[in-house]
């Protein structure tokens, strides 16, 4: 019985050998640069490792320390990450869909330019971000923000926008929202355009009156794969953010940990203190967090078809 099913499996594998050839290049790269590092991170999280001596197994000590003794983690990294992700994630997601839909309502010739305008900010992520925003929020009178507010008489003296713990988080949120029309936005834009036009006509016959009904009953259900994709991208994008606070303030950790996100915490331990084992345990916690939130979205947006097929 077992032998026959094994033989059957082998025969099927041989019949589909070409598929394996097709899948192989990506799978190899995937295993090397995603799978192996993730497994290695999990293994390292149970060790004490300073990158010079070989790792020493310490059991759950890293996790116990992280969960019971790391005040920076509980006081700053976790609350900051949650605040940042809860605001930037959903709002960025809704904006992406709304703008994608609005753009598709225009005649096709002008869409190109609006898409570009919305998408361009996400192109500036990383290097360009620093140059642009640092000067806008610069702490002296020469900063645009300061100069405008001084002119209007709203503030009396220049504010140290990015150095001041009071403002840093809000600035991070604003900048991230501004740059949030990224991959998810493009996918949704493509998705909305690929919705079968005849469905709308059929919908009209079936009594759909307003555009909102059209979106709710036709557009969104027909483009669920793209909606879910956008959601996952929004979650991962916001939870893995961290470089933004460093780019804005030029330091890690940020002043009074005001913009300290989980990734900053990983970098702090991994590349500044060289406690690789402990840093790995933080990244495992972060990966679990991302995974759990994404699963939640799967429940909300997913159709059974996607997980099966």
């Amino acid at each position: 019985m077992n032998a026959t099913s094994l033989r059957h499996l082998l025969r099927e594998m041989r019949a589909n050998w070409l598929s394996y050839v097709f899948v192989a290049p990506f799978t190899i790269v995937f295993l090397l640069f995603i799978f192996v590092p993730t497994v290695a991170a999990i293994v390292l999280s149970f060790t004490s490792f300073n990158a010079i001596e070989p790792p020493k197994f310490v059991g759950l000590r890293n996790y116990i320390n992280l969960l019971t003794q790391d005040t920076t983690f509980w006081m700053h990294a976790i609350p900051n990450t949650f605040k940042f992700a809860i605001i930037v994630g959903p709002i960025g997601y809704i904006c992406s869909f709304a703008l994608a839909w609005l753009i598709t309502q225009l005649p096709s010739k002008s869409r190109v330019w609006y898409t570009l305008a919305m998408y361009a900010p996400s192109l500036t992520a990383g290097v360009a971000m620093a140059v642009v925003w640092i000067v806008i929020f610069s702490g002296d009178r020469l900063g645009y923000m300061n100069s405008i507010l001084l002119e209007l008489g709203i503030i009396q003296q220049p504010q140290l926008w990015v150095q001041d713990p009071k403002y840093l988080m809000n600035i991070m949120i604003i900048v991230s929202l501004w740059a949030s029309m990224g991959v998810g936005f493009l996918a949704m834009l493509a998705g909305i355009q690929s919705v079968d036009k005849t469905l709308y006509e059929a919908g009209k016959i079936d009594g759909i009156k307003s555009r909102f009904q059209e979106i709710w009953y036709i557009t969104i259900p027909s483009m669920k794969p793209q909606m879910l994709f956008g959601a996952v991208m929004a979650i991962v994008g916001t939870l893995r953010a961290g470089s933004i606070s460093v780019e804005l303030t030029g330091s890690n950790p940020t002043p009074q940990y005001a913009g300290h996100l989980l990734i900053n915490h990983v970098d702090d331990y991994g590349f500044i203190r060289y406690e690789m084992g402990y840093a790995s345990s933080i990244s495992v916690v972060l990966l679990i967090l991302i995974y759990a939130t994404s699963r939640l979205c799967w429940r909300l947006f997913g159709t059974e078809g996607e997980t099966k097929s």
């Binding site: 589909n16 070409l18 309502q105 609006y114 898409t115 192109l123």
Partner: protein, 295 residues
Amino acid sequence: MRRVMRWIAPARRVVKKLTWFQCFLVLFLTGLSMFMLLPIIYLFNHAFKPASELFKYPPTFIVEHPTLKNFSDLLLASKNSIVPVTRYLFNNLISTSLTIGLSTFFSLLCAFALSKGRFPGKELLFSTIVISLMFAPETVQIPRYFVISQLGLINTYWAHVLPLVAMPVSVFLMKQFIDQVPNEMLEAARIEGANELRVLSSVIVPLSLPAVATVAILSFQGSWSNIETSTFFIEDETMKTLPFYVLTLTSGLSNSVARQGVAAAATLMMFIPNLIFFLLLQRKMIDTMMHSGIK
């Protein structure tokens, strides 16, 4: 008066074609676009400002006396250093084009097999890829370094390329699109005697061009302004890429504004290809959408 009418008439014809909703929309989106583009317009202006305007109070937004001095400073500053800026640019071009090519090709092959193939292990592979969509490379930079050093890729172009080719997002996106291609079309091609590669190139690729374009844009973006690979996997200064160089220019910016102009010029150099590439492929994307009529 008549001349004014001659100007207005075509405009009115265009406006008449639009509904009220669309008119409102055009106004709203134009306003929003201007707002979204402000920092970018600012970047363009900043890069061409002479030193006197960079430090003027109150700060100006639009450049009054544009100059190319920042760009020549950028090139001159790097001439004195060991590695000229052109070398960084060259490295960037090589690694980015390799990344785009390999990433698009690999994910197309993989997505095709995942979507239309029927092989044991398919479910496992796809669900692994879907789970890894939630993967954040930033979190496992340390083990990644060990993998790359074990493979002997440190200080090679492959260290810039291969980690970025492993982008589950592209396979996922591509598969979602290929799923929408009806199986009957593939069968029809096969009956006419096309082998799998031919099916891929003459049925799948033309029908999923939007996805191909999107993957190309994504890998371009991922690679062109990537700092991580240069920071973590490359020690040799001559093998680092342009964004890394720009980073060294901007890293002191939050404290001083001394090199703002040069930094803005370098950033603009980074940004323009991004813009052009996106504009080119995006047009194609929308056109293909209209002509191929994916349903």
